[in-house]
Amino acid sequence: MAKKLTQVEGRLLIAGLFFLLIFAMLISLLLGSVFINPKDLWQSDILWQIRLPRVLLAALIGLLLSLSGVILQGVLRNPLADPYILGISAGGAVGAAISIALGAKFVILGVSSVPASAFLFSLAAVFVVYKLSQVAGRTAPETLILAGVALSAFASAILSLIIIITGSLQSIYFWLLGSLSSASWGNVVTVIPYVIAGSAVAYFFSKELNALLLGEEMAITLGIEVEKTRLILVCAASLMAAAAVSVSGLIGFVGLIIPHWIRLLIGPNHRLLVPVAGLSGMILMVFADTLSRTILAPMEIPIGIIMALLGAPFFLYLLRRRRMEGK
């Protein structure tokens, strides 16, 4: 089982991860499908216009997805919850597919159509799921999850229908695999508000998340307005995930594995879990994106594939180890 860390140990861990993140980002900036002599790197367009925004975006998406996962696993009290469980991915995919199928004919409020429509459809999906699972003003976590699963099935049918009718399989498929290849300064600026607001909610609600983990009755006893807190947290997690999905497509695993793994390692105290999982998500994402850019260069491997290839076996290993220790 996880050791209980003292406050000092926790702070050291956070500082250590922070430096590791900086280190990973620097390494990632040096690598790419084109070799640039580090001496000339400073003047290179490739560094400023392509690599730097991409590395930053990778880190920010990692933060968004892992924090969204932390929150949802806490609120839904389900270790299998991930940022996509409430229908974000399915909604986003339908939104993106509609806009890909219609072509680049429209632009919403100056944002190009695919991310904008992915964002709107993700949020619409979560809204529907939340409304559907509300019974007499209350939302049970299990109902939320089931409604999310059902809506996802419905949305994936619509997605397949769009693909069959329009024949834009290839572009939609690549979108579904997730990629940071279209990273730009514009994307970085787009996600920053969600990063700030989302991290703030995750951090300042860590006491409430801890209480919810003990069960609803316990949380009420501790003086928490369960329904309202849940709504705020679900909103924050959904906005973070939708922002991530809209710029990078569907990147799986980071939002599932990182929160889960960090909880296994350092225990379920959200005070510590939130910053540690956030930083770890950033590091993992920067690492995975570096691999995606370099392994088969100049071809890029969609980051979703790398993430699942790395994440799944590691996850299984952790699970087994924990079970063996538990005996």
């Binding site: 367009d45 392509i50 071809m299």
Partner: protein
């Protein structure tokens, strides 16, 4: 050159008069060689020539076999690779199937001749094929750079081969790789494909590699993005093709369908690049 383009599954005694075309490229060929009156069924994707849309529809990417059978065709033109399963089923029904799968521009020309022969329009097919070949030869003589072209400057022939990247997907960037049909169209237009050899025919491509290669021309399939959006994008401005407005938008159908219009694509690309 290895051809696995066509084989007739059944001997056809008289020219077929009730042809179902299950491939948009075959529909274009049939109409081009004047066989319009012999065609009774096409697919939902057969959008060219416009008259093809008036024909009975037998399905989209997946054809509806019952619908095909109900039209009582005396020839069904199919794609040997992508429609292998349906070909087997149609043969079991006892329907005559004609298959083709041209993979290069030259193979398109011979596919036209063969299909024309199979449907009793050998002469007009021969004429169409000849004119396509002439147009291809014209492109080659006009645009093929070489030593001689520098000497014969009055002909204003290009001295250097142009490089182009064909973009078929943005966000993420997906390009036409080496040894694809599109690659062969470029070759026929005397243009080099800027995409490096990679695994897979249509790889997701590295943007920084694109910037460092900095090809002379960008060829983008229509509908992905509009010119203004592209030209105003900071990242794309690092490409000389974008700064010099050497961007061409091309109808995706004419570079992906192995039909007579590939020659239009070859001419358009060559004209644009040189």
């Amino acid at each position: 050159m290895t051809f696995l383009i066509c084989h007739l599954s059944l001997a056809i005694p008289a020219p077929p008069q009730r042809i179902v075309s299950a491939i948009p490229s075959a529909t274009e060929i049939l109409f081009a060689i004047g066989a319009e009156s012999q065609v009774i069924g096409v697919t939902l994707n057969c959008n060219y020539p416009p008259e093809a849309k008036k024909k009975e529809k037998v399905g989209g990417f997946d054809i509806n076999l019952e619908k095909v059978a109900s039209l009582k065709p005396d020839l069904v033109v199919m794609h040997s690779g992508a429609q292998a399963k349906d070909i087997e089923k149609l043969k079991k029904y006892g329907l005559p199937v004609y298959t083709m799968e041209p993979k290069t521009v030259d193979q398109v020309v011979s596919a036209i001749k063969r299909l024309g022969f199979a449907i009793g329009r050998a002469d007009s097919a021969e004429a169409v094929a000849q004119s396509l070949q002439d147009r291809l030869a014209m492109v080659r003589t006009r645009f093929k750079p070489g030593l001689l072209s520098a000497l014969r400057f009055w002909e204003k022939r290009p001295t250097r081969r142009q490089k182009a990247l064909v973009i078929i997907g943005l966000k993420p960037l997906v390009v036409a790789g080496q040894n694809t049909f599109i690659d062969d169209i470029l070759k026929s237009a005397c243009v080099d494909n800027a995409a490096e050899a990679t695994m897979g025919e249509f790889p997701q491509y590295s943007f920084e590699k694109l910037v460092s290669d900095d090809p002379d021309n960008l060829i983008i399939t229509e509908g992905l993005i509009n010119r203004k959006e592209l030209v105003n994008d900071k990242q794309w401005q690092s490409l000389k093709a974008v700064r010099g407005n050497k961007i061409m938008f091309i109808n995706p159908d004419i570079i992906s369908r192995p039909g007579p219009r590939v020659v239009d694509a070859v001419e358009q690309i060559a004209e644009f690049a040189y």
